[in-house]
Symmetry: C2
Subunit: 140 residues, 2 copies
């Protein structure tokens, strides 16, 4: 635990999978249904700060979540990102992307180009429910 | 090779490491010295499309480049990203980030907050030269 680190404590997170080393959370971003994060529990900054065993474990987790998102949500593309410039505590963003989403083909951190229709977002939120169930089952 | 894919052909790239399976290139982004990309040579879309051996190989490459960037450039944080929404051909962005860079703490795909001073950028470009040499040596 590091003082004032927002990710050292589980607070206000929708935790889908809780493992001693990491947790998987579903992010409530209306424009991007199916956005999940994988957060390493220990306060570590970089991927290369992990020992090889832990790094492989985390990569394997990312791969499983990516596959679950593809299989349940059929996105045009998956985005993977590990920044840590806002909160320097190792965490990964996994975001299913669609050609009609708010920022496509730019990153979700870029300017928005459009509003995705409410109907489409509602449908995708249901697919994200399926993704959540799949992820829970994979890591059970 | 897929028709019209910008990354299927090596064209106008500053290739630092050339491996049968992947290449490492140095990106000419004035605002972000030390920005490298790892491009998988085969036209594959997602990380989970790779077989386990290739995926582990690529992860290991990312880890080595990340470590080389940290050791030579001493950034505040490394950013790792795999998007593929512009060009759906597997490639990774590795970017050393500094608190005075153009977008910090936001992503480099977000709006710019400032201009980093030319002097600082020149110094960092020299460190990026060191990073390039280190990466070449590691993969030699």
């Amino acid at each position: 635990m590091t003082n004032n680190c927002l990710l050292c404590e589980v607070k206000g997170e929708n935790v889908v999978v809780s493992h001693p080393k990491y947790r998987i959370i579903r992010v409530a971003d209306v424009q991007f249904p199916g956005y999940f994060r994988v957060i390493w529990n220990e306060h570590v900054k970089e991927m290369s700060d992990l020992c090889e065993t832990d790094r492989h474990l985390l990569w394997d987790v990312l791969n499983k979540v990516e596959k679950a998102l593809i299989e349940t949500m059929n996105p045009k593309k998956i985005n993977l990102a590990e920044f840590g410039t806002m909160v320097p505590h190792l965490h990964w963003h996994l975001i299913p992307r669609y050609e009609d989403d708010a920022c496509y083909p730019d990153s979700i951190w870029s300017n928005k180009h459009r509003s995705c229709s409410d109907e489409v977002l509602r449908e995708r939120e249901k697919l994200a429910d399926d993704a959540e169930e799949r992820i829970k089952a994979i890591f059970a």
